[in-house]
């Protein structure tokens, strides 16, 4: 690492033309050549805007008022265009599927060079070289969309690095990855930092996951201002992340809660090399002993029973063969497993979106195998991952009322039921708002309300918290928990988030190649190393911490801590949104 600045923000402010207030205020930031910098902040803090300034998408794509002085590798973005800047900054966007342009992996890697009109021999040579570097040689003739999450990340990186830009900008590199793929991705980035002499900028809100690799500097944004710019170790010692709606690594919160003086700890950001003394061990263990044991829920009547179900997509091998599964009334179940292992397929079979080759589905002991999608929806509400795929009206009230209108209820009853649902979901104050004015998380809530208004006994959610920061994430999950506790709604959620599973699920079903690999409490699943490896899950940092402290039962420590945290929040999450 040298001290030569490669990116310099001097008193930068930016206001989008469509917005009334500036998104960034007086930003001063210097990034030196060879540094790995992690930019984080809650939703709406301006971190994506900062990234768009670095790669030149602002001002070219989003017009607005820019003041101050910005230098990137000696160039001024206001004077050069996106093309010039693209030779300096390589950008990997958040959604790998949308950024793949080439039909095959090889073409996608070659895309930038094709656009530079490089000769054919150079294209083939460079593609072979980078496919080799990033270990995607076997995938060259495949469709990028057909790869696993981790492979997609590799291809996206190869397509950018083939240019040899000195700066690499990664926008939420961990979105949509299962825990194992996320870890591999971070390792790969670390390998690139070491071997390719790059300056790397990572923008994300998943702090624990990003800090798996050494980070030189962490920059925290809130309300368009830089509120911290320091080494991760120093930042983690303060409470700045939590007070700004960001989640610090759970093991750090646990240390602080147990009363360990984190100020004196070295390598706080790197759990593997963190050293705790006997006194710290004692503090952690006695904190754990003082916590009540988490309650074990009792099993009730079955509500959904999948019996002997067989299914495969036409022309492909069978995914489920004589598959059986029972969900009980009032359970909160997490469905986990690696990308592409049949989780969504299973849900589509339950909601009737797909028809099984054979087998039956029972709801409260009644066979509903022949029920239509519409009939099933009155019992089983389904919320897709992407709210944009569900919303078809412009006003919130109309969107939530739609399901009732289509079922032919009278306007008075509809109004009453919609208002009631809007109150439960905390959307009542916004009932007359256009949906376009809502944030992603709020839209998601609207889609949940639209499913709830039909008063289903079961609610199925695909990645309920994808793309949301800690504050919105907790609101969403506390809301579902509340619904589960007060209305007795059975909740089934598909997730990659181990902390979420641990905090909110009372049962985890691990799916692997169309089989139930494990069906137990989240705590039990996360102590089974075989299952973790096979299903691409990850151990919690809390378990690692407990092992370091020589705790007798690391998973109980994790369970107790998470239960403690959840009960702490119960008081403050009365207001939604």
């Amino acid at each position: 690492m040298s001290d030569k600045p490669i990116i310099q923000f001097s008193d930068i402010s930016f206001q989008y033309r469509s917005q009334e207030e500036a998104t960034l205020h007086h930003i001063n930031l210097t990034i030196n050549k060879g540094e790995t910098v992690f930019i984080t902040g809650p939703s709406g803090s301006g971190k994506s805007t900062l990234g768009n300034l670095i790669n030149g998408v602002i001002p070219e794509e989003f017009p607005g008022t820019l003041s101050g002085d910005l230098t990137i590798a000696g160039k001024h973005p206001s004077e050069v265009d996106l093309t010039d800047l693209s030779f300096e900054v390589g950008t990997v966007l958040q959604d790998p599927d949308a950024q793949f342009v080439g039909l095959t992996v090889a073409e996608d890697i070659a895309f930038a060079l094709e656009n530079d009109a490089q000769p054919l021999s150079v294209l083939h040579e460079k593609v072979a070289e980078w496919a080799d570097h990033l270990n995607v040689k076997q995938q060259l003739s495949k469709h990028p969309q057909d790869l696993s999450g981790g492979q997609k990340q590799r291809v996206a990186l190869a397509g950018v690095l083939i240019d040899n830009e000195p700066i690499l900008l990664l926008d939420e590199p961990l979105a949509n990855l299962d825990p194992a793929a996320g870890r591999d991705s971070m390792k790969l980035i670390n390998w690139l930092v070491k071997n390719q002499n790059l300056t790397v900028i990572i923008i994300d809100h998943r702090i624990e996951e990003v800090l798996q690799i050494p980070i030189d500097r962490m920059v925290v944004l809130a309300d368009g201002q830089i509120i911290a710019d320091d080494q991760p170790d120093q930042l983690l010692k303060s409470n700045l992340l939590l007070t700004n709606g960001l989640r610090e690594p759970l093991y750090v919160t646990a240390l602080k809660t147990a009363g360990v003086a984190v100020d004196h700890l070295e390598n706080l950001a790197d759990l593997a090399s963190l050293k705790l003394d006997k006194g710290d061990h004692a503090k952690l263990n006695s904190w754990m002993a003082a916590q009540p044991a988490p309650d074990v829920p009792t099993k009730k009547q079955p509500i959904i029973e999948v019996k002997q179900m067989t299914f495969g997509y036409p022309g492909e091998p069978q995914i489920f063969d004589q598959f059986n599964l029972t969900i009980h009334q009032g359970e909160m179940v997490a469905l986990v497993g690696k990308n592409g292992t049949g989780k969504t397929t299973l849900i589509n079979l339950i909601t009737g979106f797909l028809k099984p080759t054979s087998g039956n589905l029972y709801f409260n002991q009644t066979d509903i195998s022949d029920d239509s999608v519409k009939q099933r929806a009155s019992r089983i509400g389904y919320v897709l991952q992407d709210p944009n795929q569900m919303i078809s009206k412009t006003m919130i009230f109309d969107e939530v009322a739609l399901g009732l209108q289509l079922r032919g209820l009278d306007p008075e009853t509809i109004k009453k039921q919609v208002f009631e649902t809007l109150k439960i979901t905390g959307l009542y104050p916004y009932r007359n708002w256009p949906i376009s004015a809502l944030s992603f998380g709020q839209k998601k809530r609207v889609t949940i309300a639209a499913a709830l208004v039909l008063q289903p006994e079961v609610l199925i959610l695909d990645e309920p918290t994808a793309g949301q920061d800690l504050a919105h994430y907790s609101q969403m999950m506390d809301f579902l928990h509340h619904l589960n506790q007060t209305q007795g709604t059975t909740v089934l959620m598909v997730t990659h988030d181990m902390n979420l599973m641990m905090a909110y699920a009372d049962r985890t079903i691990v799916l692997d190649q169309g089989q139930v690999l494990e069906d137990a409490t989240p705590g039990k699943v996360l102590t089974n190393l075989d299952v973790i490896k096979k299903a691409h899950l990850a151990q919690l940092s809390l378990q690692v911490l407990a092992e370091k402290a020589d705790a007798s039962d690391p998973i109980t420590f994790a369970e107790k801590f998470i239960a403690f945290e959840r009960s702490n929040r119960d008081g403050e999450s009365a207001s939604f949104i």
Partner: protein, 279 residues
């Protein structure tokens, strides 16, 4: 649907399916030039010759019946309707062209003559030869090959790439459409045949709104991703999938050129675009 799965699978192309070994450019040129000459000419023997050539082309693509079935039925229905309408609008057209009138049946407006039947047979042959060519082309050319070939025969690369992207996103859009349609059905939207045609039409707009919004989002990201990798900044671009013309390409192009020369030559021999057996 343009084939995306198998055609660039190299193992697949080695199995003697010579159509798949042709470059996209050759295939486009064959399809375009034979379509034009086939549309202009009404020489029955010539059209039969083109049909044989097209069937050889089709045979070599080794298509499965289920791949072509749906589209084939649609084309057959359209062709039948087309021929009936041509007859209904002017049952006397055949006689006008060939200058004679051999009546089979009827009189007055709806008179049926051998000339009219022969004319309709020629029309039918035009469809019969062009359909196998189109099928062979569609199922053995992947979008990148198509784009690089379009660029090679003179289309701007931006247009070529736009065509490639739209073809490629068709399966994505279909998948999104299905997903959204199911999500709307879950809300209670009746899309099955129980609802009337008008209601179903009205209700499909309910699906189009989310489809448009989610597609717009994707287009925006894709456009940005392309700009960040400098698409559209140079006058020219190169193509990773570019293929040199092989001996086979030259052979097929020569055969095509000969067919065209013969087609034009027949205009002289027949004295017009029509071959007239009634003289």
């Amino acid at each position: 649907m343009v084939n995306q799965q198998a055609s660039y699978d190299i193992a697949e192309t080695q199995k003697g399916r010579w159509v798949t070994r042709l470059t996209g450019m050759t295939k486009i040129l064959v399809l375009l030039s034979l379509s034009v000459i086939g549309m202009v000419s009404y020489d029955t023997w010539y059209l039969v010759a083109l049909t044989i050539f097209a069937i050889l082309f089709y045979q070599s693509a080794h298509l499965k019946w289920h791949q072509v079935r749906g589209l084939l039925y649609a084309i057959a229905a359209f062709t039948a309707l087309n021929l009936i309408l041509v007859y209904v609008f002017n049952p006397n057209y055949g006689s006008q062209i060939y200058g004679t009138s051999h009546v089979i049946a009827g009189s007055g407006y709806f008179i049926l003559t051998w000339e009219e039947l022969f004319y309709l047979l020629n029309m039918l042959l035009k469809y019969v030869f062009i359909v196998p060519l189109i099928f062979a082309f569609l199922y053995t050319t992947n979008p990148s090959e198509l784009a690089s070939s379009m660029n090679r025969i003179g289309f701007s690369y931006k247009i070529s790439y736009a065509v490639e992207l739209s073809l490629r996103y068709i399966p994505d859009v279909i998948r999104d459409f299905k997903q959204i349609s199911l999500a709307q059905q879950a809300r209670g939207l009746e899309m099955s045949k129980k609802a009337g045609v008008w209601n179903r039409l009205k209700r499909s707009t309910q699906i189009l709104i989310p489809l448009v919004f989610s597609s717009m989002d994707k287009i925006e990201v894709t456009t940005r991703a392309m700009k960040l990798r400098r698409f559209g900044t140079q006058k020219k671009r190169t193509w990773y999938m570019y293929q040199r013309l092989s001996k086979l390409d030259y052979l097929i192009l020569t055969v095509t050129t000969l067919l065209i020369i013969i087609g034009i030559g027949l205009f002289w021999v027949d004295g017009s675009r029509f071959y007239n057996p009634f003289k």
